[in-house]
Amino acid sequence: MAHVRKQVRDALKAALTGLPTTGARVFVSRPEARPLQSSELPALLIYMGDESVAPLRPSQAWPQLLRRTLSPLVDLVLAQSAAADDTADQAINEIETALSASESAARLGGLMPEGFLLRGISPMREDAAGETPVHRITLVFQGDTFTAANAPGVAL
């Protein structure tokens, strides 16, 4: 069984693939050695941010039950245009809607029983070094999964 971290990334990809603005251009853990091509914009990049792990009850006997607070990150990358802000906001609208479309979606298919929430959106960063300037925005999500210490691949 894959670690819940991978399960969360895969669930995010499934939920965000096929949205009107970004379509099938959703990439998980895309390495820096394989940068996006301009033909792949606008795109979503999914990767894992910080994770904190704590026992539910510190004095519990083995195996301890753990609360894992995960912060998946979704980067929206798009080419610069006069309507870049509007395009970005439309894509963000689609992302938030998709992840709240149902109770199951809001709990990331059950991986995060207490809910999976958008916690913040970064300012739009721009890099004009290329022949087509590029914008990038980071959406920070957060949610808790629960696993036993000896079974990090089984979400409780």
Partner: protein, 97 residues
């Protein structure tokens, strides 16, 4: 003395651009030999290139940011103009919309 050095500088600029020019750029019907560079850049995780023209100041007098320049078979928009203060300028280009 200063005028003589200015002449030398001008001659050096024209000779070097003349020797190193690898493209012809066209701006508002005016053609000039230029050095066209298009190195790879990674812009926020997107593979791209950084097209730049090196030309004599008087090749495109009055060129402005936002103007269209045709070089290497493509139209570009002038994104920035960087004169070196000694007779040569760099034009940073963007792909024309």
């Amino acid at each position: 003395m200063a005028a003589a050095f200015a002449d030398i500088l001008d001659r050096i600029n024209r000779d070097s651009i003349g020797l190193l020019a690898d493209a012809v750029a066209t701006w508002q019907g005016r053609c000039a030999n230029v050095v066209f560079d298009r190195r790879y850049v990674n812009a926020l995780g997107v593979a791209s290139s950084n097209p730049v023209i090196r030309a004599l100041d008087d090749s495109f007098p009055g060129v402005m940011v936002g103007d269209t320049i045709h070089v290497a078979g493509e139209d570009f928009t002038v994104a920035s103009i960087e004169p070196d203060g000694a007779g040569v300028m760099l034009l940073h280009l963007e792909r024309a919309a």
